[in-house]
Symmetry: C2
Subunit: 449 residues, 2 copies
């Protein structure tokens, strides 16, 4: 939905060259709202509008443009203006944007960017996607350890406008080793004691991540320690950047979506649905559908094996899909509970016995209930009190096997170093289908003779 | 896994009453690590240790204790000490902790808490769980609009130690209406111009949430606007609190887990797996299993209806589970993709036609591939080139129907105001099972005569 409220005014300001009002529009509104009001403008118009903002405000508004518009603007607008914008964007965001541009265009822009910023961008480009290095920004508030509170505030005052956050101030020695952190609120609290040294205010036991760490591990650390930003260090504990809470929130969203896709037996997409090509999508789904299909073929073999029994008691077939799906559904519920428990670190492998007992009991309870409904249904479809017993006994067994198996498989897969989210549901579907058929027909032979 | 590294030393410090070293332990380490090293101590011992920390450090370490230990300590330790701790904890966390305590104990503790803190806690207790009010803390950095930068820093310096964050400074008028915000970094940048008024630094277009807003909507707003904290206002735009990024991260984790549970056809748990009672767990799972079971019973009726055909061509039964699960699996993949796209706001109902075309095409492609494998399998199980054709034709149809239906159902459910995550998979399983049987047997009759 495009917000057209301000469009006529914006176009009029542009055509009249009303600099005063354009500047007012860019600064008075929240940058996100300014970007929203510009959605109806074309790329050239919106670029013209933000040229009237201060460099900082321009960068902020730009970051709230739709991602496709951001790429198009970088690709098409005047290089000098683009380079000036790039200088004011967080370096980590620039690296992400550059991935979609031609290398020649990137080189052209970077040539116009001041050397220190260019170096930052070039360095960040070397880190592999999904690592702490690729998430971090280099604009951290860094101060030398021998400064006093008064000196620190003065230096900070000069740095502050170009920093993303001053929530934490990073205290470094002369060779850029991270020595400690000072919270902005501790520094501000100490204003009354201006000669206090930073070294006396700082916490030295700092939670850090290595530049090579996986982004999921980074997000977990930030969530566990309730941090607003986390410092990134290299193997020699040099401070190389910080990762801020907004990037962590993005990682958590991305990981949550990936988990949901894995649980539904699909390779996680690396982009949104609409931006993923038809063939990539088909491949990521087809892979697992094919694996599931082959386990499904085993059910065909199993049923062929029991052909004689099925011929003799035809009514057994009517309940076959019901029985198979009861086992699969209860098993995938159990697997999901354990997978999310493992992901949230509420559970670990030491809980295996408690989990198994709980899940087996749950299976017995749910199986008895569903079995009773099934028993009634079998009699409504013409079975006697005795022959109908095949159904509840089978359902009770299948559901209990389903919950027990569903809860244990993620733990076993994790122990084997495999991803429980990705493998559990296909495996459970396959195994519980086969077991369902085997249990069903053996119970039938036992009771019906 | 309990970290026993420091246990002997800690116990020795306690028995010797070595105040100096205990204080050192509580302040030098990161509070989370101090809490971790205390895991092996019993409740009384760990309480004694943290009595040697400063009030602030004590509160921080306490917040990293296991949640059960936090409850036990509040319930069992000396009221005066507990009340002093409570005064230093964020009010929103206190409210959460109090929910697990007897009301009489809560009253006893609150009687010893200073009146302003007590009022804050009492007020927060009135907000329903899952609303912005229940998430917020009242300790925001608030300053009057007519202050200068110098005055603001002085006042902030007095407030800072008891605040959770000074990332944003909230500018209010004399009746507590929110007038604007100043970022800490803007304030620090202006140190060189100490007579500047706050009113000239502040942004007036502030993103806020209402105290009654749902926590999921709050988390989305924070993520969209990349905020570190969001102010909470009442209907008259009085500032009543702020919600900080750590609470937002907790909400996002909780919502992600709930989505996964919904997608696996389960009522979301309100607590972790281990802390949820056996009966609650069985009820939340049993409800949906029963609904799925009743849709499964429809397959029994459908199969009974086609009894004659099944008697005539017995081999059809062998492929029945395979065909049903192919439709269900491909359908639930599509549904999951659309549900996560809707949740991430990448998709909306206006994309319905594009989605349907894509999904139908994906279904045709995947269906042809799986159908070919099925065709080969049918011949290996004794069918001719001609009779075996039943299998690929059915699979192609079932998979295409599955993907189309799976992608459209979440959109339809959302339009009807229902939760797509909760309803889609059970409905798809039910519908695709029945449709699978109907398509299969009609194709069979058509080909086999």
């Amino acid at each position: 939905m495009i917000n057209t409220l301000f469009l006529p005014e914006l176009r009029e300001m542009l055509s009249e060259g009303n600099l005063e009002e354009l500047r007012e529009f860019c600064t008075a509104l929240h940058p996100a709202r300014a970007a929203e009001f510009m959605e109806g403008l074309d790329n050239d118009e919106s670029w013209q509008v933000i040229q009237h903002a201060t460099p900082n405000a321009r960068a902020e508004i730009f970051q709230y443009f739709e991602i496709d518009r951001q790429h198009e603007l970088l690709a098409s607008q005047d290089e000098v203006e683009v380079a000036s914008l790039v200088t004011n964007l967080p370096a980590d965001d620039v690296v992400d944007l550059f991935q979609e541009l031609d290398t020649s265009r990137v080189d052209q822009i970077l040539a116009l960017v001041p050397a220190p910023d260019r170096r930052d961008i070039r360095r960040l480009q070397t880190f592999a996607e999904g690592t702490a290095g690729a998430l971090m920004t280099t604009e951290a508030a860094c101060l030398a350890e021998n400064l006093t509170v008064r000196q620190a505030l003065e230096q900070l005052s000069k740095q502050a406008e170009r920093l993303e956050t001053i929530y934490y101030i990073y205290v470094i020695d002369s060779t850029n080793h991270l020595r400690g952190i000072v919270k902005a609120r501790s520094l501000v609290s100490a204003i009354g004691r201006p000669e206090t040294k930073l070294v006396d205010l700082m916490q030295t036991d700092v939670v850090t991540v290595n530049v090579q760490d996986d982004q999921e591990a980074v997000a977990e650390k930030v969530a566990f320690y309730n941090l607003s930003a986390i410092p990134v260090v290299d193997d020699q504990r040099h401070l190389v950047g910080i990762i801020t809470h907004d990037d962590i929130i993005d990682v958590m969203r991305q990981e949550a979506t990936e988990d949901v896709q894995r649980i539904s037996a699909m390779e996680p997409l690396s982009d949104s649905y609409m931006r993923t090509s038809f063939l990539t999508l088909s491949w990521k789904r087809g892979m697992w559908l094919t694996i599931l299909f082959f386990t499904g073929l085993l059910t065909a073999l199993a049923l062929q094996y029991y052909n004689q029994e099925l011929e003799k008691f035809e009514w057994l077939i009517w309940f076959l899909p019901l029985i198979i799906s009861s086992g699969g559904n209860s098993g995938s519920q159990s697997a999901t509970l354990i997978i999310s428990g493992l992901a949230a670190k509420d559970l670990d492998r030491n809980d295996a016995m408690v989990i198994l007992r709980r899940e087996a009991l749950t299976g017995l309870l749910l199986g008895s209930f569903l079995g009773t409904i099934g028993y009634i249904a079998s009699m409504m479809l013409g079975q006697t009190y005795f022959t109908g017993l095949v159904i509840p006994i089978t359902i009770l067994s299948v559901v209990t096997v389903g919950t027990s198996l569903g809860s244990m498989l993620p733990l076993i897969l994790q122990k084997l170093g495999l991803d429980p989210a990705l493998m559990s549901n296909p495996l459970i579907a396959g195994i519980s289908d086969i077991l369902g058929i085997v249990i069903y027909l053996n119970v039938a032979v036992l009771i019906l003779g």
